[in-house]
Amino acid sequence: MKFLATTLLIALLSFLSGLYLPWWCFALAACGISALIPQKPLWAFLSGFLSLFLLWGGLAWGIDSANNSILSVKIAQLLHLGNSSLLLILVTALVGALIGGGAAITGTFMTTRKLRTPSPNTPDINLSYEEQAPVK
């Protein structure tokens, strides 16, 4: 649940930031959301990654369909991606995803160690967070 919420929130905020702010500002969104909704680092990374993968990939795919791939074939050729629109969309999605994942994990590391790994002598107040980790 938390994973899904985080992923969607990052995507939404990233999209909004993309409308008005420089391209890399979605990283701040991913980082911020991830700091506010703490998850285990790996899960945080995955939500940032997936979020941006879907957002960038989806946007690129939508634009490309409307454009009948006129431009993507040319850009793919310029970037030595073998004239493949799909590969260009994939690379686009991966670029967004890597930064998104990196930013999200950075955000999660901003949370306190104490809360994540409690000492044996204190009650595990972090339990609630653990419980909210997504079910595999």
């Binding site: 409308l19 946007l59 490309d64 409307a66 690379v91 686009t92 930064i99 990196g102 994540r116």
Partner: protein, 841 residues
């Protein structure tokens, strides 16, 4: 203090965000990695754009992927506009502009040029101003840097500034340029970063504000392309290396088969100015044996064009037809942008230059006009003797004269410091070459050469096009031409009233025979240009309705025969002109369709003359079966450079090796810049005299015959032809491989391998990267019937479906009708979108 702040800050955050307690090491690692990734993907690596920014779907290249059903309808409120204007876009994205004044029309034109062609406009003017290195870096072997220094030293910026002054003295030109510039800037200001043209994103830079100076720079770039050619350095070397007799045979001043623009036998006015040859000409100039190692930047040598007009007595409709196809680099985005401009004063259709106001080639409700290049030599070099290496004084008229100086600051991408280029100036003009700049040559030289170029004189060429837009008759056309100085053009004209005419217009220096053919002595004033040919002495032809030949034409050939009282030099192509005149004189009852057929005619007169010569001299006993089969194809070839023919490929290779076989021995003896004789020179020489002295290979004891070299050349072609056959490139279009090539020469953004025939000597002059850049046929019936096509599309955006709209039709030799939209056709189904331009108070 610091801690206090942190703790205070902490209180505002959820309890788990304890900054003091955060996991510092993993945080730092992931932060640095992510930030590093962002920075890395926001940085340009070599020619790879900053990939993060470039691929961001909301910022980068994806934003240039225009939806196929893009809606161009809009309502804009713009501050520079005086009254409401409407722009009706048709199905080809051609704007039909309805404006209430010429000024408003220019404003809207500026806006539209910027909207569809901003990057190209700015790139071309950056190139003209010698600023390529600023965008592209120094280039391989400092190629861009040498280009920039060459352009600046030639005086492109200096000339543009003088031209701008002259333009702004004319209140109408100033008003229109101001409006055009305001229109461009209005678009730039209103543009979001995501809307930046693709090339800016690829190269990672941004447009700067447009200015009237950029318009002047654009005009100068045309002057450079069309009047920036000369061979003074090469001819100087040839004069020094060859005997006088040999030189005359390699570079003859006339061509036997020439059919000039103005028919032979026309009587000319006696010269109004008789330039005096200096007394020292023989000793210091013609017999001077100096050589020059510098290598010039040269404009595309094939820049040329065809135009003609036929009178009503030769047409089916009884009304004149005017045709024009300027041959320029077939670039994408195209140098042309098609539009109709309608104001209360005129209704004009044609092509415009993104970068300048007005319609350049086109027609209105009364008449039509077109242009070809005159190719006259208006650029000469003078050898300067400087007192010392500071180049502050030079010897002139028996004294040390103080030189002027300017310092060019050339920014270089990727380098922290700019290059400061100190350029001395003389009475002749700027110093093009000196020990610190030898052009494209790596050979050091102690010489200094100043350049005198007509395009550096103040002038206002745009005024001509402003007036042509609203010209009604021959006298309006004549008046419009008056101001036109450089690059000299052949302006063809036809009116609904029936007149057809052609004027070679420009301000041309009156030269004594041989003046400026070689680098001239610059130690006194005696070698300077002595004055200009008076405009009314320029070659012209107004076809006589009764006794005239019924057509006027030009194809960059020598404009006149030898009775014209001025020296014009010898660098003019002849074969396209010959073909046009031959066809036109045979044609009657002409329709626009006939004219389209003629414009796309692939017949080759050069081959017509050369083929019998080759076949006469080939020794078939030396050929094996394979060679014989190629020879047979050549024998059967009907002299047409059609796309599927193999004959033109065989001819091309054969002539290439013949030329090499004849001249390599003489020319490979030197590393100096040299010019091989023109194809027409070699052909005419061999036709006249099979014992042409250069046929003999001077490196062998035996005396080669023409038969030997012709046969040898053919044999040398065979492996190449066999290879081409293996690669499926033996047919002409595939071999020639015509492109509509992106200005950055990127194959991905170009249209390659176009199936089009023609070539250098065909009327359809489509070469690899160069050719008919706008074909236009206008029949001046009561309701004008016009056709046109250019190898590009209205949008300069490679992500638009309008980027290459016309390319395939152009290659196929077909045309689109040019629709002059009438006032009552605003609801016509051809109109796809309407843009309303409203003034904003």
């Amino acid at each position: 203090m610091l801690f206090e702040k942190k703790f205070t800050f902490k209180n505002f955050l959820p309890h788990h965000l304890n900054i003091a307690g955060m996991r510092i090491v993993p945080f730092l690692i992931s932060f640095l990695l992510t930030a590093g990734l962002i920075v890395g993907l926001n940085t340009q690596w070599g020619m790879t754009p900053p990939l993060g920014k470039f691929l961001s779907p909301q910022h980068g290249c994806w934003q240039n992927a225009e939806p196929a059903d893009q809606n161009f309808a809009t309502t804009l409120s713009l501050p520079g506009l005086k009254e409401k204007a409407q722009v009706y876009f048709d199905e080809y994205l051609i704007p039909h502009v309805y404006a209430q004044s010429q000024q408003d029309a220019c404003y809207v034109q500026g806006y539209l040029h910027a909207k569809f062609r901003l990057w190209q406009m700015e790139f071309q003017t950056h190139a003209a101003a010698g600023r390529l290195s600023e965008i592209l870096g120094p280039g391989v072997n400092n190629g861009y840097l040498k280009y920039d220094r060459s352009m600046r030293r030639l005086g492109m910026v200096y000339g543009a500034k003088k031209t701008l002054e002259e333009m702004e003295k004319d209140s109408a030109t100033k008003r229109d340029c101001d409006a055009y510039t305001a229109g461009v800037n209005e678009y730039i200001t209103g543009m979001k970063e995501s809307e930046l043209p693709l090339e800016y994103k690829l190269l990672n830079y941004k447009p700067e504000p447009w200015s009237n100076l950029k318009i002047a720079l654009f005009v100068k770039s045309m002057a450079y392309d069309l009047a920036g050619a000369d061979n003074d350095i090469e001819m100087t070397n040839a004069k020094s290396l060859f005997s006088k007799e040999a030189f005359a045979r390699l570079y003859p001043s006339t061509q036997d088969s020439l059919d000039p623009i103005i028919p032979k036998g026309t009587t000319f006015l006696p010269a109004g100015i008789q330039p005096k040859m200096p007394a020292t000409a023989d000793s210091l100039y013609f017999n001077n044996k100096d050589t020059v190692t510098m290598r010039e930047l040269k404009p595309e040598k094939n820049n040329g064009s065809n135009n003609w007009a036929v009178s009503g007595k030769k047409t089916l409709s009884g009304r004149p037809i005017l045709c024009n196809d300027p041959h320029l680099s077939t670039n994408l985005p195209s140098i042309w942008f098609q539009m109709q401009i309608r104001t209360p004063g005129y209704n004009t259709y044609g092509v415009s230059f993104p970068g300048a106001p007005y319609i350049i080639i086109g027609f209105n409700d009364s008449c039509a006009w077109g242009i070809t290049n005159s190719g006259r030599d208006v650029r000469d070099y003078y050898s300067i003797k400087f007192k010392d290496d500071t180049r502050q004084a030079y010897w002139f008229n028996n004294e040390w004269k103080t030189a002027g100086q300017w310092i060019d600051t050339i920014k270089i991408r990727g380098q922290e410091l700019p290059l400061y280029d100190t350029v001395a100036t003389t009475v002749f003009g700027p110093v093009m070459f000196d020990p610190h700049f030898t052009g494209y040559s790596d050979v050091p030289s102690s010489k200094s050469l100043a350049v005198h170029w007509k395009a550096n004189d103040p002038s206002n060429e745009l005024a001509t096009f402003s007036r042509l837009q609203s010209a009604r008759n021959y006298s309006d056309y004549k008046e419009a031409l008056e101001r036109f100085q450089t690059p000299g053009q052949n302006f063809v004209f036809a009116a609904k009233s029936g007149e057809i005419a052609i004027w070679q217009q420009g301000e041309f220096p009156a030269k004594w025979r041989g003046q400026g053919q070689f680098v001239m002595p610059g130690e006194d004033s005696s070698y300077m240009w002595q004055g200009n040919i008076r405009a009314f002495e320029n070659p012209y032809m107004l076809d006589d309705p009764d006794k005239g030949r019924g057509f006027v034409s030009s194809a960059n050939q020598h404009p006149v025969d030898t009775t014209y009282p001025y020296f014009l030099g010898n660098d003019f192509p002849i074969y396209r002109g010959l073909a046009i005149n031959r066809f036109l004189s045979q044609m009657n009852g002409i329709t626009p369709a006939d004219m389209m057929k003629l414009q796309t005619e692939n017949y080759d007169i050069f081959a017509e003359m050369a083929k019998p010569l080759l076949l006469r001299n080939i020794d078939e006993s030396k050929l094996d079966g394979q060679a014989k089969s190629y020879l047979n194809v050549f024998k059967l070839w009907k002299l047409r450079n059609d796309p599927g023919e193999e004959g033109p490929v065989i001819f091309n290779r054969w002539w290439f090796h013949l030329e090499q076989g004849i001249f390599n021995d003489e020319f490979s003896k030197t590393h100096l810049p040299m010019l091989r004789p023109y194809e027409s020179t070699l052909l005419e020489a061999l036709l006249k005299d099979s014992a042409y002295e250069f046929v003999d290979n001077i490196n062998t004891p035996e005396k080669e015959t023409l038969q030997q070299v012709v046969t040898d050349a053919f044999l040398k072609s065979i492996p190449e032809l066999a290879q081409a056959g293996k690669e499926d490139r033996l047919t002409w279009a595939k071999y020639k491989d015509t492109w509509a090539r992106h200005l950055l020469r990127l194959p991905a953004l170009s249209r390659m391998h176009l199936p089009i025939g023609g070539g250098t000597h065909s009327i359809n002059a489509a070469k690899q990267f160069h050719g008919p850049s706008w074909r236009m046929v206008v029949q001046l019936t009561d309701k004008t019937e016009a056709y046109g096509i250019y190898p590009g599309g209205q949008s300069g955006n490679p992500g638009s479906s309008y980027y290459d709209t016309f390319v395939d039709t152009w290659a196929a030799g077909k045309y689109f009708p040019l629709w002059v939209m009438d006032k009552d056709e605003t609801k016509d189904k051809r109109i796809k979108w309407v843009a309303h331009f409203d003034p904003k108070n």
